[in-house]
């Protein structure tokens, strides 16, 4: 009988921060103190608080240690597991109160969340189906198997669930189309091609709670009348692929997949397809082409996949997070589910909170929460006491939300009205040092590179827009560039074939809408207000701060800095190539920009 359980996070973030080394050191220490039979180590899925990894929780007391290292294990085992003294220095320190916190429920990052979909992530061993079942797993499926397919569709419809992958289409309606579509063979597809830079919730769900996705998929199959599913997952997520394969094998062993599942007479098969690195494959028709082994290019709709999808058969495509919501709806009912959220957006949404914010990681919040609560309460505010400038929501398809809209309720419809979109839920926070023109250029360079080239507006339009943005950030912008950008943006948005092109101009349009002054400063004053665009910067040395250490002189590749030892140095503007080497090298902050 174990006296204690220790959960160590084995999500990708924590593994890169040293989970494996910590586990090994812990095992050695346990043996040293003869505790190996009393303490059980569980490698869990992602806890979401990647910034503070590796996360290390001791149960039953629920003591939350963070940023633990292998070197800490002797002290932790000796002091805490043997003597019962909490190791203060490894506890979480609240940056706002400077006090330490022992239980993870007291940490604002967690206490403000509503973890429904992530309920198991970080709590169970994702490679053990029993732990999923103990926490109510597969009850939803059991209920679904006792229902008529149309009853399942109606339950999901009345829950108000909308697709979490981007556009927010009502899931129940999508299922109904596929259900009503005639055909003896139908497919369900799980879209796990999480390509939005800045979003990783699907990865965490797949890695931390793979059975929830499988259960959702089997229920979807039952609802539309399909006996075969594909999970299309990015090859860049090797751990997620491995855990999915393990989960599928276990579910087969338990009779949850395969022939005559749970004696219901229904059959179900799940295949995994690894993507090969193309952002456009997140678009549903492109994804289907990719599964069929073709170049992953979208095609015009209609016909919609619900009518003519994979290999010409009716197909229902849902995103990972959407499917992970489904077991909860079946288990607890549509009314329970729709009690959370706003009028048009029910349930919770997972956001990947990253960028210049104190607490980065995954957070799940009820729909309708304000942006301010997410950034300042859960996120703990801006790093280094800097000033909030904007939050970018929805990845390359989304937009930037300025400070004036911080109290905006976060749901599908208000974000769209603000010019952004929910997208997959990436939320990158930016401070005063982020240049909004450069950010627009960054997103355009991404969508331009990922444009598949099939339709002209997207292929040519994004290229021309990128050229204009590059010109502006290099200080060669022309006064007509802003109207040119606006005109092109509208054309690309209106006439592109698929979602990639239709949303690609959003980052440009929202920055133009909320941060037009920054574009104007670049074009008319040849100045980058954030001090980021290299070609627009002039470096100088503040003589009062400079100690004359000569390290910048050595760092300068252009020999543009002169000055004697212990005397203030100076930069020759004519020779300076604005590379920033001196700025990076100076320990005293004497190199400045104007």
């Amino acid at each position: 009988m174990y006296e204690r359980h220790i959960l160590i996070c084995a999500g990708t973030g924590c593994i890169s921060s040293g989970t494996r080394e910590v586990k090994e050191a812990l095992e050695n220490e346990l043996i040293k103190h003869n505790l190996q039979d009393k303490v059980r180590i569980i490698l869990s899925g992602c806890h979401g608080f990647c910034e503070k990894g590796p996360i290390f929780i001791v149960y039953p007391e629920d003591i939350f240690y963070c940023e633990v290292k292998a070197e800490d294990m002797p002290e932790l085992v000796e002091e805490y597991l043997v003597k019962g003294n909490i190791v203060e220095r490894l506890l979480y320190k609240d940056p706002t109160t400077a006090g330490t916190v022992t239980s993870h429920e007291e940490i604002p990052f967690y206490s403000r969340q509503k973890r429904q979909v992530l309920r198991n992530c970080g709590v169970i061993d994702p490679e053990n189906i029993d732990e999923y079942i103990i926490r109510g797993g597969y009850i939803g499926l059991k209920k679904a198997l006792g229902m008529e397919p149309l009853e399942i569709v109606n339950t999901v419809k009345s829950s108000g669930l909308r697709g979490r992958g981007g556009a927010g289409f009502p899931t129940g309606m999508k299922w109904e189309f596929a259900h009503r579509s005639p055909g003896d063979k139908k497919y369900v597809v799980c879209n796990a091609d999480e390509g939005d830079p800045g979003a990783f919730m699907d990865r965490s769900v797949l890695e931390g709670d793979p059975h929830a996705v499988l259960e959702g998929l089997i229920i979807a199959g039952r609802a539309i009348g399909s006996d075969e599913a594909y999970i299309y997952v990015r090859a860049e997520y090797p751990l997620a692929v491995r855990r999915l394969r393990t989960a599928i094998a276990q579910a087969e062993e338990y009779g949850l997949i395969g022939q005559n599942i749970l004696n219901s007479g229904a059959n179900f098969k799940i295949n995994i397809k690894e993507g090969a690195g193309a952002f456009v494959c997140g678009e549903e028709t492109a994804l289907l082409a990719s599964i069929e082994g073709e170049r992953g290019m979208p095609r015009p709709r209609p016909p919609f996949p619900a009518v003519k999808g994979l290999w010409g058969k009716p197909t229902c495509i849902n995103n990972v997070e959407t499917l992970a919501n489904v077991p909860l709806i079946l288990r607890n009912g549509a009314d329970w589910y729709s009690a959370v959220g706003t009028e048009g957006s029910k349930g919770t949404k997972i956001f990947a909170l990253t960028g210049k914010v104190n607490n980065t990681g995954l957070c799940e919040v009820p729909m309708g929460i304000s942006l301010r609560e997410i950034v300042f309460d859960i996120g703990g505010g801006i790093r280094g006491g800097k000033k909030y400038k904007a939050v970018q929501i929805g990845g390359p398809s989304g937009g930037c939300i300025p400070e004036s809209l911080l109290d905006l309720p976060v749901d599908f419809d208000s974000l769209t009205a603000a010019g952004a979109m929910m997208g997959s839920g990436g939320m990158v926070v930016m401070d005063e040092d982020t240049c909004m023109v450069d950010l627009a250029r960054y997103f355009l360079s991404f969508t331009q590179r990922e444009s598949c080239g099939k339709c002209t507006p997207c292929r040519e339009g994004t290229k021309r827009m990128l050229e204009i943005l590059e010109r502006i950030t290099r200080g060669k912008g022309e006064p007509e560039d802003i109207p040119r950008l606006e005109k092109l943006a509208v054309a690309v948005k209106d006439s592109s074939l698929c979602g990639l092109g239709q949303t690609a101009p959003n980052p440009v349009l929202t920055t133009l809408r909320y941060f037009r002054d920054e574009y104007e400063a670049h074009i008319f004053d040849r100045r980058c207000p954030a001090g980021l665009c290299r070609d627009l910067l002039t470096y100088y040395i503040d003589a009062e701060v400079c100690t004359g250490c000569r390290s910048c002189v050595k760092a300068c590749p252009a020999e543009a800095i002169s000055g004697e030892k212990k005397e203030p140095h100076a930069i020759d503007e004519a020779k300076c190539i604005s590379c920033g080497a001196c700025f990076d090298r100076c320990k005293f902050g004497a190199v400045k920009t104007k």
Binding site: T12, G13, I15, S16, S17, F49, C50, E51, G53, E194, G195, D196, P197, G198, A199, F200, R203, A235, E236, Y237, P238, K273, E274, G275, A276, G277, A278, F279, S290, I291, E292, G293, E294, R295, G296, M297, W311, A352, T354, G355, K356, T360, G361, L362, Q392, G395, G426, V428, M430, T434, L439, Y442, F443, F446, E450, C452, D584
Partner: protein, 161 residues
């Protein structure tokens, strides 16, 4: 590659290795991407004779195989290094200054994006997002992820490879 060396490479190419890989895929549909993934796992890249052989065996034009191979970022038509360095150019990494990390890495390795060092030890690549945004800026070397990078940390990490 001149025509002669190309022909010589074709002659000496070990087609049996490709044939073995093809076995599990014959007479199935939608297999092009997994076939190419297997070939790349075996050879480290997609050799031209291998692609031509696949086309012959599946009775499809070579252009079709080539079309799929060039569409996806994951496929490579030239030999790659022993270790693959992938620096993330995702949004969170961009905002947290990955540009300087990427520049420094290229300077250390002495190669640009998509290129391989002369000793074939490293290939340098940039990817859109590896989904470890909480630790930005990040990179992967093979399957190992490294987070919270600064230009100064790179040399120490590369020593392990």
């Amino acid at each position: 590659m001149s025509e002669e060396t190309a022909k010589a490479a074709e002659k000496s190419f070990d087609y049996d290795r490709v044939e073995t890989l093809l076995q599990e895929f014959l007479h199935k549909k939608g297999v092009m991407v997994p076939i190419l993934q297997k070939i790349q796992a075996e050879f480290g890249y997609l050799p031209r004779p291998a692609m031509e052989y696949v086309a012959k065996r599946l009775r499809i034009p070579v252009s079709k195989v080539f079309g799929v191979a060039t569409f996806y970022a994951q496929f490579h038509l030239h030999p790659r290094g022993k270790n693959i360095v992938r620096v993330c150019r995702g949004t969170a990494c961009h905002v947290r200054g990955v540009s300087k990390v990427a520049e420094k890495m290229q300077e250390i390795l002495g190669v640009g994006v998509g290129q391989t060092t002369e000793d074939m030890n490293f290939t340098y690549e940039e990817v859109a997002c590896i989904g470890a945004c909480g630790l930005a800026p990040v990179m992967m070397i093979n399957d190992q992820t490294y987070g919270k990078l600064t230009p100064e940390k790179l040399k120490g990490i590369l020593k392990n490879y």
